[in-house]
Symmetry: C2
Subunit: 507 residues, 2 copies
Amino acid sequence: MFAQGLARTTQAYGDRIATIDGDKVQNWKEFGDRISRIAGGLRSIGCQSGDRIAILAATTPEHLATMYAVVWAGCVLVPLNTRLSPDELDHIVSQSESKALASDIRNLAGAESVMSTTKNALKTIAMDESAAGEVSLDELAKSASIDVWTAEMSDLFALYYTGGTTGLPKGVMVSDGAAGVQALNMIFDTGVTEKTNYLHAPPLFHLAGATVANACAFAGAAQTFLPEITPDAYTKTVVEKKVTFISMVPTMLVDMLEAPNADQAFQSVETFAYGTAPIPEALLRKVLDRCPDVKLVQIYGQSEVTGPATVLRPEHHTLSGPFTDKLASAGIPIMCHEVRIADEDGKTVANGTTGEVLIRGPGVMMGYWQQPELTAKTLKDGWLHTGDAGIMDGDGFIQIVDRLKDMIITGGENVFCGEVESVIAEHPDVSICTVIGLPDDKWGERVHAVVVLEKGAEMDFETLRDHCRKSIAGYKCPKSADFTTDPLPLSGVGKIRKDLLRKKYSN
Amino acid sequence: MFAQGLARTTQAYGDRIATIDGDKVQNWKEFGDRISRIAGGLRSIGCQSGDRIAILAATTPEHLATMYAVVWAGCVLVPLNTRLSPDELDHIVSQSESKALASDIRNLAGAESVMSTTKNALKTIAMDESAAGEVSLDELAKSASIDVWTAEMSDLFALYYTGGTTGLPKGVMVSDGAAGVQALNMIFDTGVTEKTNYLHAPPLFHLAGATVANACAFAGAAQTFLPEITPDAYTKTVVEKKVTFISMVPTMLVDMLEAPNADQAFQSVETFAYGTAPIPEALLRKVLDRCPDVKLVQIYGQSEVTGPATVLRPEHHTLSGPFTDKLASAGIPIMCHEVRIADEDGKTVANGTTGEVLIRGPGVMMGYWQQPELTAKTLKDGWLHTGDAGIMDGDGFIQIVDRLKDMIITGGENVFCGEVESVIAEHPDVSICTVIGLPDDKWGERVHAVVVLEKGAEMDFETLRDHCRKSIAGYKCPKSADFTTDPLPLSGVGKIRKDLLRKKYSN
């Protein structure tokens, strides 16, 4: 269904604006033409339906065109997180058996590294003039258009890699129907129409960014892009381009509201969507106070459900009336999805009781790519075991209270503690270590390391940080650390009591 | 995905009204509980997932509960048109190999006839006290709830039987994903939310009625039912129940607008959806003139695309501005669907040229049940060949100009001429005959017969009508006829020139 969504917009909304990037504006007829030609180009370099194609690029109109050309040709999208380390990128390209890699100049180092290390027979596509690649996107776009691919809803659409507790990202298999239905759900919950102008903030390689882009594409809405997301540039673009829809993680929202004349600047904005991390109730109240006419939509989700899992809808964002006690919740399940809270045996617990959040519905992944055992542990009878702990109230509203999986969400990114811990432990001066998330005004949570040093050893924070940076993406590296020679508190079964450490270091 | 849509509403909108039937009101918690118990009852009488279950009933809350219980249990819906003849009903129950038949008191004769003639080992369910059946719906509803079924989007969801040119209805195979996505599309185009109150008019056994009901169910909207649809009762109910959403065929719209104080009565109505037959532009202008604040939505569709195929959206219904020349069109393709106009070889024709309307997308049927040859003729490379003739303009708007298949749409029902002709031809006094649709103020089109009698024979209209009524549903029988001894005009290849006859008898 997904490719038909694109073809329909090209035809029915051809004269409407598709992308805005500074002074460069494309309508849907032009954008659709470019997509279908690049798709023809992909075919001409040997990419057949079902082939995986990796993209390593900033959030630009060309990235979007490449994404949709992959879909148009019936190939499988493999979006790469631009902040991953060379080893992680190589793992994904290799494990997905990607046939082609498209990359832009801003990710030259990562792309060149993959190209030098990969064992795949990789076709390489340069997305702009000085980027690495055997063939340029412009050359591909000189090909004749091809007819849009028609997938079955159960066909593989994309592999979204997500951080793994064992240190290697795992590929979430997203079906055509999952991507399509979640875009429709996003349209319903945010009210996107052909009159919408959306300003990108979450990166396109994330489902948080992609699902909103997809909703806009289906509805014939305009999408505005920024080379660098800074509060100043963002606010300026909202004003200049009369942006009507913005979406961001709470850390960005803080920056936006602190900008001078923020309330004046955001007058054209009709919808604010936020998510990825819990938002403090006080901040939400501040937003409602400043922008009473803006529709607020909170989305809680994860890659394994192809984006949104629950939604706190605009009518739930009120400071009076029946929903005032729902502001701290993540809302109700997204359309056509069931949520239940279960104990360790998968049995539904009573309302008000904490348990694991389970989700069932069309957005749930097909499984982890080539990891049947991990898939079997995560998907049971159609229920996705999210690894997040939550509580459901008597009205069916879900509150996310903690993460069962040992994971930190910092600035909208998932960091798995185990991955960081294993890197730190490699340092010869480290005896034992643990990584926890501490509350942080800017990042929501920050990565904090508690390091027990070898007897007589000494280490400072910079040394620890430099050591980590060699192996993992910058956002995964600790932002603060405590060094100690005391033993770490352990539970009865020998597990580190992270809850005690979080309490100790939060003050 | 469909059953998850119901389960989610039961949980997230439990306190909101599900159905209104006079003074009887059920909230979603009660309605969901009844659905899941009836589903348990279906299981207890031996209905397993995948089994076909036929329903022969008027449009009532109990019909809706039965429909959704079938879905909840993972069985396949077989809705029966209550106006079909006993032979047609028996054919459907038999050809679908239905395992159970649920029927209500208002369809007692049809149900008893099927029960006496069927060769299936049919479980029979009485939907109200005096209806025919081994077990009552109330008894089934005493069963324990079962967990909601989780279908794949590619699983068979329903068989919607539609009139066949050979005289026997054929079963349109609707998938779970098709039914789900089309309900989401209907939500998008009509703006249904949990605050909507929809008043039923098109019957639930039709996709025109079912798709709107499904949209309401997903969104947690209220559905109001009427025992008999008359303009007076309908208008009264709109006022009393503060109805916000109505949908009807144009023939009904005429009656509504002629009711006294119609403009006063419809003040609570926010959305009018219409379709199934073309609407005269003059009538549309009259509606816009009377109700300028109402959102008008025209849907063109057919069973083979699970309801909607194109939509003329509210913003297209204006008497000024860029869309004024679109009022006579059927609008743009529904979300995630492509439409093209093709010649006899399936090649796309130029804009402005008449050709066959072809549709591709997730709503397109899986095929005709157990009719692979007919399916292969109708579905080619994913494109549904609708049999309707249309023109696309340069903006992607589609105008339906004629039907390529020899079919009459009368009062929203499809009548295939060949079926009526073969019945008339059976009469010993008839030499040759043909059936055409003539324009009709009330019915849109009426079934008109042109009958060439045997030499010396005489026949009046009543005799013709009584003859037809013995074999086919009342709405298929001619509403007028001409008897002649002149030969019918023929084309060069010996086909009856219906176009000439339509011209001759239209005056």
